[in-house]
């Protein structure tokens, strides 16, 4: 918490959403809270930015949504991954891992010497 928040890289939000939804269908607020908790609020991002991202993913056919009743008895717009979304997520994950690994090798080597 004491650390200053990170700027969210462009496109990162999409991956976070997809990853979050891979654990199961969720409404917008749920996704928001889940991201906040798992990242321990490391990212400085306005919560509203989630919604245009969700609509974009929906338009691209990576997620689908329908109004339904949640566990708490509320009616909410619940999002879920489509098969295309699942595929997109694993592709994104692979490239993230490669990216992190490469950066880690460079930066780790630099600080190690």
């Amino acid at each position: 918490m004491a650390e200053p928040s990170l700027e969210l890289l462009k496109g990162t939000l999409d991956v976070l959403i997809l990853k979050t939804l891979s654990q199961g269908a969720m409404h917008g607020y749920g996704i928001s809270r889940s991201i906040r908790e798992t990242t321990r609020e490391a990212f400085r991002v306005e919560e509203g930015a989630l919604y245009p991202a969700l609509r974009r993913l929906e338009k691209r056919g990576l997620v689908e949504a329908e109004w339904s009743v949640t566990d708490t008895g509320r009616e909410a717009r619940v999002y879920d991954l489509t098969p295309a979304g699942t595929a997109e997520l694993s592709a994104e994950l692979r490239s993230w891992h490669r990216y992190v690994e490469a950066m880690g090798r460079v930066l780790g080597a630099a600080s190690g010497s």
């Binding site: 409404h27 917008g28 607020y29 928001s32 809270r33 306005e46 919560e47 509203g48 930015a49 919604y51 245009p52 609509r55 974009r56 929906e58 338009k59 056919g61 689908e64 949504a65 329908e66 109004w67 339904s68 509320r74 009616e75 909410a76 717009r77």
Partner: protein
């Protein structure tokens, strides 16, 4: 509307609606505030904090809505595509169910659209496309006007005055095309070239690929002769070698090659060499009309102003000279250059375009009636669908999709046909068609085809579609497939069949006129016999034969050599050959009196020419060895010359002088020649033009006339004259190996001279036969259909004892009833439209009764046949069968 409801009934993926957005965002803010409250925030502060954490809610909502809207749009597009594909699939299925109809429709459309595409590709290439020059709309063609109101070539001094005095032009240049023997290349050859004035390259801006263009210094009298050549000439004839080593001999003059320009540069199209005109100009007389002049309008100057200015200058300068006023210009004519190039083709090409459109209209009418007939048969299916809730618009769209599909497929077939036509036109390269290289299936042409196809589909599809969907669903279901087709909709049938008949009749009358006119033309007596004659143009190098007498000696020798070839019947010499590039004509003098003038044709000849061409000698004799260069000057005149200038007198023994025609060559003093014979008239200029009064002089006595243009005419003693060609070639090579050899048959020249009329007749004839066939098929279809619908009625009549003849008569009468109206309208329309053909007809009036009656008879016969066949079939059916079928 609850969220649940929204899901039902849609097979498309659910996607967000705009009103969902606000609700979702509101929910988020509420939940966030609740969460904060649970962490101990005061409610008001929690709501405030939730909003802060959220960011600009309006901005977010706007972004979401924008995405949703574009999503919705994409989905709608997808839905439309899906609907179109569905319609197409349905249309394909329907067409496959009746392959006979589909095939007939496709062939009809392919022919109709193909005809239009082919004709339009010619119209576009020849008439519509701009000339292939920079700012080509500013190029003009200037000629002088003679005292009879016709146009003629320009006298050099007038051209110089135009250049000096006019202000309307960015440039004016004399341009005379010529065909000359060129020596010094890899082989002696005939090349097409142009003598051009100083401004020429300003008119036709060109960047040389090698060397330079000609400049002012090259265009001075006395300047060292230079020439610019085309790239292909440079590569093929000069081997692409460096220019400074290249000297050519053109028109007997040694010239230096100074530049190479891209192929297709300049005017006239196809020129290979360009050389300055000024040093070649031979006459400062204002009555020597030898030059063509092309101009480029200065920026902002109208054609009308330029025309007025040039006309004014011409009138002014021709008032001064002390020359024969009969031969001075009385003014000048300035027209766009494209008009000169296209010439008289505008009218025939537009005629063909109109004819092609008529064919397409016949095709449309034909298909409309077939579709309507089929549609009526399908009305039960349509009614069922309508009663099941299909909207009228939806059914209309189905029917139109069917038409569009047919039209598109037919259009594709049409493009294929047109491609073949364009290919064969370009391959046969008819002599009368300029700009042939530009006739192609260009994007403009294909665009035209696509619009024609859509237009066609709407025309033949919309009427039946609207008509059919108007049927009340209940009524069609109740009456089933019965009913009398000839009453309820008889007006539509009458209209469709009548239109088809009228259109076909107009085409038939038009082509009938052309056929009649062409026959009249071919029946004209040419006055000479072309079938067994080879023509051999001979061009000598004036460098090698500097004196006129050298030319004469060469031809004396050549005529002797050719005469001795076995199989040669007769051989002669002619300065200009009939039907090949005009007849020189000008002022002549009669009866030893220089003031007694006549205008006539002027041809140098040998006596053998009359024999070779079978031109009859009516009085006296023609030239022979008695008429050598040192003997008494003699001449032969044509019948019409004798009749015109010595009416009622004996022409033999009179005298005639070459006059203006000879002065140009500055011969010795007076050259009055005694007329020694009268020969038959020939159609020298054109098959369709009356013989022109003409004087023949022996080449032996006027050798200065044969330096540029000379031809041997060789008649075969028997058989095909083409068999003589190798021996003729050998004879020329033996006489002088530097002379390029070209041979062509005179019969071919006769064919070529009527080529344009023949082409017009055949294309128009083809179109009208097509229209006749389509109309016949159309009538057949409609009558068959109506008979099919009346089988029950016919069955009852036959069962009640009606004679088959009377039933047949009833069917045929009903059919002809529809046809007669069309014939009447067609006759009126033909009389109105064929007037536009007057200038295309030879010796036949546009209201020629034979063509009119012939067309009506042909069409009536076809209509009778088309209705008799189904009528006969109708009475062959067993009445019991037809009645039980109900």
């Amino acid at each position: 509307m609850t969220p649940g409801e929204r899901r039902t009934g849609s097979i498309f993926p659910r996607f967000g609606l705009a009103e969902d957005v606000d609700r979702e965002l509101r929910d988020h803010l509420e939940l966030r505030a609740e969460e904060l409250e649970q962490q101990g925030w005061d409610p008001a502060a929690a709501r405030e904090e939730a909003r802060r954490l959220f960011g600009d809610k309006e901005e977010v909502a706007r972004a979401c809505r924008a995405i949703v809207t574009s999503h919705q749009r994409a989905v709608r597009r997808g839905r439309t595509m899906e609907a179109i594909i569905q319609d197409l699939r349905y249309a394909v299925r329907t067409l496959l169910k009746s392959p006979g109809f589909a095939l007939l429709a496709l062939v009809t459309l392919a022919l109709g659209i193909g005809a239009n595409t082919a004709v339009f590709s010619v119209v576009n290439g020849v008439l519509l496309r701009p000339l292939p020059y920079e700012e080509s709309q500013d190029l003009v063609w200037i000629q002088e006007i003679n005292n009879r109101g016709g146009t003629m070539s320009v006298a050099w001094p007038n051209y110089e005055d135009w250049r000096a005095q006019s202000t309307s032009f960015a440039g004016l240049a004399a341009v005379n095309d010529f065909t000359a023997t060129v020596l010094g290349g890899d082989e002696p050859l005939r090349a097409d070239g142009a003598l051009v004035g100083e401004d020429y390259w300003k008119l036709f801006p060109t960047r040389p690929v090698q060397g330079r263009l000609t400049v002012a210094a090259d265009h001075q009298v006395g300047a060292p002769p230079v020439v610019v050549v085309s790239r292909s000439f440079w590569l093929n004839q000069l081997g692409g070698r460096p220019l400074d080593t290249q000297r050519l001999e053109i028109l007997g003059v040694q010239v230096q090659v100074v530049g190479v320009v891209p192929d297709g540069a300049g005017y006239p199209a196809g020129s290979q060499i360009w050389t300055p005109a000024e040093p070649q100009n031979g006459s400062d007389s204002r009555t020597a009309h030898n030059w063509n002049v092309v101009g480029r309008l200065a920026p902002g100057v109208s054609l009308a102003r330029a025309r007025q200015e040039i006309d004014g200058i011409t009138k002014r300068v021709t008032e001064l000279p002390d020359e024969d006023p009969d031969f001075l210009a009385t003014g000048a004519s300035t027209v766009p250059l494209v008009d000169e190039i296209v010439g008289d083709l505008r009218r025939p090409l537009y005629l063909l375009m109109g004819a092609a459109v008529l064919v397409l209209l016949v095709a449309c009418t034909n298909l409309a009636s077939t579709l309507l007939a089929r549609g009526t048969a399908r009305s039960r299916e349509l009614a069922v669908r309508a009663s099941l809730g299909a909207e009228r618009a939806r059914i209309t769209r189905h029917l139109l999709t069917e038409s569009l599909l047919l039209a598109m497929l037919g259009g594709a077939g049409g493009v294929g046909l047109a491609y073949l036509v364009v290919l064969s036109i370009r391959r046969s390269a008819p002599a009368f068609l300029p700009r042939l290289g530009e006739v192609a299936l260009s994007p403009v042409v294909l665009g035209f085809t696509a619009s024609a196809a859509v237009f066609t589909a709407v025309l033949f599809g919309l009427v039946p579609a609207l008509r059919l969907t108007r049927i009340e669903a209940g009524e069609a279901l109740r009456s089933g497939s019965r009913g009398n087709a000839m009453d309820g909709r008889s007006r539509v049938w009458r209209l469709l069949v009548g239109t088809e008949v009228a259109l076909a009749l107009v085409l038939l009358v038009g082509s009938g006129l052309l056929v009649r006119s062409f026959r009249a033309l071919l029946e004209e007596d040419l006055g000479f016999q072309a079938a067994d004659v080879e023509v051999m143009p001979v061009y000598l190098s004036n460098g090698k034969y500097p004196e006129p007498d050298d030319h004469r000696r060469f031809y004396d020798d050549l005529l002797r050599r050719v005469a001795s070839i076995p199989g040669v019947g007769a051989v002669g010499f002619l300065g200009s050959v009939p039907l090949q590039g005009g007849l020189p004509n000008g002022r002549l003098e009669l009866d030893g009196d220089l003031d007694k003038q006549a205008i006539g044709g002027y041809v140098v000849a040998s006596g053998g020419a009359f024999e070779a061409l079978d031109i009859p000698v009516l009085q006296g004799r023609v030239f022979d060895e008695r008429d050598g260069p040192d003997d008494e000057m003699v001449a032969v005149v044509s019948q019409s010359f004798a009749d015109e200038f010595w009416p009622g007198e004996d022409a033999v023994g009179k005298s005639v002088n070459g006059g203006g025609m000879d002065n140009f060559y500055s011969v010795r003093g007076e050259t009055f020649a005694r007329v020694i014979g009268v020969v038959g008239d020939i159609r020298h200029r054109d098959v369709g033009r009356e013989p022109y009064p003409t004087v023949y002089f022996p080449y032996t006595q006027r050798p200065f006339r044969i330096q540029y243009s000379a031809n041997l005419v060789v008649e075969a003693a028997a058989g095909d004259p083409a068999a003589l060609v190798p021996a003729l070639r050998d004879a020329i090579q033996a006489a002088d190996p530097d002379v390029p050899v070209r041979l062509n048959s005179l019969a071919e020249a006769v064919r070529t001279s009527v080529g344009e009329r023949r082409f017009l007749m055949f294309v128009m004839g083809g179109f009208s036969v097509l229209a006749l066939v389509l109309a016949t098929v159309g009538i057949f279809g409609v009558v068959s259909y109506s008979v099919g619908r009346r089988t029950r009625e016919i069955g009852i009549r036959v069962a009640l004892g009606a004679a088959p003849e009377s039933v047949r008569g009833m069917v045929i009468r009903a059919a002809m009833n529809m046809v007669v109206g069309g014939l009447l309208v067609g006759v009126v329309a033909a009389l109105a439209l064929t007037r536009a053909m007057r200038s295309l007809l030879y010796a036949i009036s546009p209201t020629d009764p034979v063509a009119l009656v012939g067309a009506v008879l042909a069409l009536s016969a076809a209509a009778l046949l088309a209705s008799w066949l189904p009528a006969r079939a109708s009475t062959r059916v067993d009445p019991m069968v037809t009645m039980r079928a109900e």
